[in-house]
């Protein structure tokens, strides 16, 4: 039975034009064409999407949750990346 064990795919759905694809879930399929078809049946039975991506789960490289702090820390000490960092005199418009 194990020789017919289909690989896992991650499914991304674009819910409508103008929005990016969002992760919807995963499924098993023998190849990409089947994965797309299965994703259509599984994740868009009620018009939830206008476009689908399927990606072999094994192709995804993920950041480790243990690295959460050091990995994302650099962003925390750069408040000047946010517009609210800057003081603008009252009354100045369109800024």
């Amino acid at each position: 039975m194990t020789d017919t064990d289909w690989p896992l795919w991650e499914v991304f759905v674009r819910s409508r034009r103008g929005l990016s694809h969002t992760h919807a879930g995963s499924l098993h399929a023998p190849d990409a064409a089947f994965a797309l078809r299965n994703a259509r049946d599984l994740y868009t039975r009620r018009g939830e999407g206008v476009s689908l991506w399927v990606v072999p789960s094994s192709a995804i490289t993920a950041s480790s949750p243990d690295e959460k702090d050091p990995f994302f820390e650099p962003a925390a000490d750069k408040p000047y990346r946010h517009p609210t960092f800057y003081e603008i005199p009252e009354g100045v418009k369109h800024l």
Partner: protein, 337 residues
């Protein structure tokens, strides 16, 4: 089998070569506890206690099995649906149940369970599915009673699971709950049509409700003081409300709905309790529940036999698709070389 980097646990409890010492585990436990306490979600690659993982796998697998076994009692009526409209609705509903099973198996897989293994455990009786599906669907009205009562009870159980502490399970439940609403309404509409129909049709609807009412109340599980896993599951925020609390909520919802249907619920003790602000209801026959759970329900054997047969008879489809994919990938490989 390909495992997803996105699903792999970064560090399992005491895994070799990692900082699996007691201090590190303590830290992980504290992070886990704090995350749950803050009502945030635990995600697949986070550290989690082994017992939390095992509880979730058991619960999600049982839930997934219930969805796919639940296809059988209703599919029983597809070929005999009274109109094309009802037939199309029923097929869509049974297809949804398959979909719900797949969302849930996927959620279980993010915890490291394998699909093959889960199905094997279902087929060999090592994992259970909801007892409710061991009752037969004797008439067309049963399709309505299942939609209204069984799916109604399922929704009452499942809505709080949308806030379950484990992210993938909670997300699967959001999707399931959206779809269950159609299931419940189509059942209610079906029963209403029968109830307002001929005398025979009305009697058929009443008979179905009489048979499904008590098993539906049993779907919430044993009373709180006898529920083995409840306290821990509530501490982990897997479960948000107790069995009895959800059961009470369900009864309160159903009584007025039954009145609108023009049908009665088969419980002489059912009456409004002004003081408690809830309906009182009669005692549940837990002996029956335990018997069905043990495998002595009307359809236990039939459900598993049919499930195994469907799986075995579908083997050639899985094998052919895998062979085609293998052949195709070899060819593509040659072209690319």
């Amino acid at each position: 089998m390909a495992t997803a980097a996105a699903h792999q646990t970064a560090r399992t409890h005491g895994s070799a070569g990692q900082e699996g010492d007691i201090d590190a585990d303590d830290t992980y436990q504290r992070v886990f506890d704090a995350t749950v306490a803050a009502d945030e979600r635990i995600e697949p690659r986070d550290w989690m206690p082994d017992a939390y993982r095992a509880t979730l796998v058991r619960q999600i697998a049982q839930h997934a099995h219930s969805e796919i076994i639940g296809m059988q009692p209703e599919a029983n009526w597809i070929t005999r649906a009274p109109s094309l409209r009802r037939k199309a609705i029923l097929m869509a509903k049974v297809q949804d149940e398959a979909g719900h099973g797949l969302y849930l198996y996927s959620a279980a897989e993010t915890l490291g369970a394998s699909r093959e293994d889960l199905l094997d455990k279902l087929h060999t009786g090592r994992q259970k599915y909801s007892s409710i599906f061991n009752y037969p669907t004797l008439t067309w009205a049963d399709v309505g009673a299942i939609g209204w009562l069984v799916d109604g009870a399922a929704i009452t159980n499942q809505v709080p699971l949308c806030r379950c502490s484990y992210g993938p399970y909670a997300r699967a439940m959001v999707r399931v709950c959206k779809e269950e609403s159609f299931h419940q309404r189509q059942g209610y509409e079906l029963l209403l049509a029968l109830s307002r129909g001929t005398t025979e049709q009305h009697a058929m609807a009443q008979d179905a409700v009489d048979r499904w009412w008590w098993p539906s109340l049993m779907m919430f599980g044993p009373p709180d003081d006898e529920s083995a896993h409840s306290a821990q599951s509530m501490a982990w925020k897997i479960k948000r409300h107790s069995n009895d609390e959800l059961r009470r909520r369900f009864v309160d919802i159903c009584v007025p709905q039954a009145e609108s249907l023009g049908l009665t619920l088969p419980d002489p003790d059912l009456k409004w309790n002004e003081e408690r602000g809830h309906y009182d209801f009669g005692p549940i026959d837990w002996t029956e529940f335990k018997e069905v759970l043990k495998g002595n329900g009307p359809c236990n054997e039939q459900r598993i036999t049919q499930r195994k047969a469907a799986h075995d008879e579908g083997a050639w489809v899985r094998e052919s698709a895998a062979a085609y994919a293998a052949k195709h990938s070899t060819r593509t490989g040659v072209e690319q070389a």
